[in-house]
Symmetry: C2
Subunit: 214 residues, 2 copies
DNA sequence: GTATGTGAACCACTTCACAGCA
DNA sequence: TGCTGTGAAGTGGTTCACATAC
């Protein structure tokens, strides 16, 4: 029975991978936990501990081989293959998601798009045609979808999520401002810039005595 | 010296506020930590403990007055006033941020937009005209900006952040895929859907149901 | 000499459980 | 009776510090 790996550790691995990819592009062969940590604002011990859950990838006295560690992380995270995603909700936000060029290069392919609004259904975006969300179950019945991206209004989000889960989706990237209810086997990550802003203002507010830097 | 309030607590308050606002719109007068917790996937004790850092807002045997608690949270978080933001980077992402209708209703006003690209500079978006990022310091010199939204390519992000910080910005919403370096008095929240996806794939990779998301 | 890998110590957050009050 | 507020206990994650290896 494998040791339980904390979720926070899994959340940090992609950050490490991203930094390693950057180092690799710069031609760096080796990096220490010290240096990587300084770059990422993480303690060296944190990095070593995190990696130790998965194996021994470093060399004492030397550090980590950048290419090797990057490959290991890709394998650990499942980034060495493609993932199939659908987008639900093609309003302004959904449109931006569909047009975003950052997913495909990382192996995240959007293969279907759905909306409830007749004025959007049938529209072509990139090489996808927006289908009616009412027909989502049938459309997804024959295919395997890994991840659902929810970009609907709040009021529609939960039932869209239910439908995605029933279609076999096991991970959801949720842009809707709701707390999604899902079965235990389904993962949800929320993206909500407003929540991020609203927590930062707490510190802005209490810091008001602070004079701005020169 | 006041008690130190954990960052995680501050991060949850906006979530509570959002749920309370929804209950309020539904006409609910009172809610218990039990019910609020069930709605948000948080334990009742968590909610009570979080709130206890700031005061005693509930009534035993009854619960919390929705309007009252919502108001208190707004005040605690500084959501009872307006915040001035600038956007840097008006590519596809920055454009989407500028067009997003979700900020202003919550009191987050975008008052300037900057880009480095001549083909974007001078363009009008809403009631803003995109200014050259090279002139950002001068443009911001006379005014108070609370929050900077960074939507530039990775390569430009750190120097944009430096310039924002020098202009007195004390909170940054960072859409660029870098680990920002900022002085201790500046808050950063990162938004990176790719990182979110890349951590979820770890769990997708194995069929086993790991621990449920928080 | 230098940097990893890792038990052990430490710390922070969460949950418990119950006194106290409506 | 029902639910809050909160010390105390428990849990989980981080940091320490050092044996180990290059």
């Amino acid at each position: 029975m494998p040791i339980e790996i904390p979720d926070v550790v899994i959340d940090r691995l992609p950050v490490y991978a991203r930094a390693l990819a950057s180092l690799d592009r710069q031609g760096r062969d080796v990096v220490s936990s010290q240096e990587l940590g300084a770059q990422l604002g993480v303690t060296p011990a944190q990095i070593r501990k995190d990696l130790s859950y998965f194996g021994r990838f470093g060399k004492q006295g030397r550090g980590y081989n950048v290419k090797r560690l990057l490959e290991e992380l890709h394998q650990i995270l499942g980034l060495d293959r493609k993932w199939r995603m659908v987008v639900v909700g093609v309003g302004q936000l959904g449109h931006a998601v569909l047009s975003y060029g950052g997913f495909a290069p990382q192996g995240f392919d959007i293969v279907e798009a759905f909306d409830a609004d007749a004025s959007v259904i049938g529209k072509q975006i990139g090489d996808l045609v927006v289908k009616p969300v009412a027909a989502m179950r049938e459309a997804l019945a024959g295919q395997h979808i890994d991840i659902g991206i929810v970009a609907t209004p709040a009021a529609a989000a939960q039932q869209v999520i239910d439908a995605l889960v029933e279609s076999g989706v096991r991970a959801i990237l949720n842009y809707a401002p709701i707390a999604a209810h899902v079965p235990r086997h389904v993962r949800v990550k929320d993206i909500d810039p407003v929540l991020s802003l609203q927590s930062m203002t707490f510190y802005l507010k209490s810091d008001l005595a602070h004079s701005p830097p020169k």
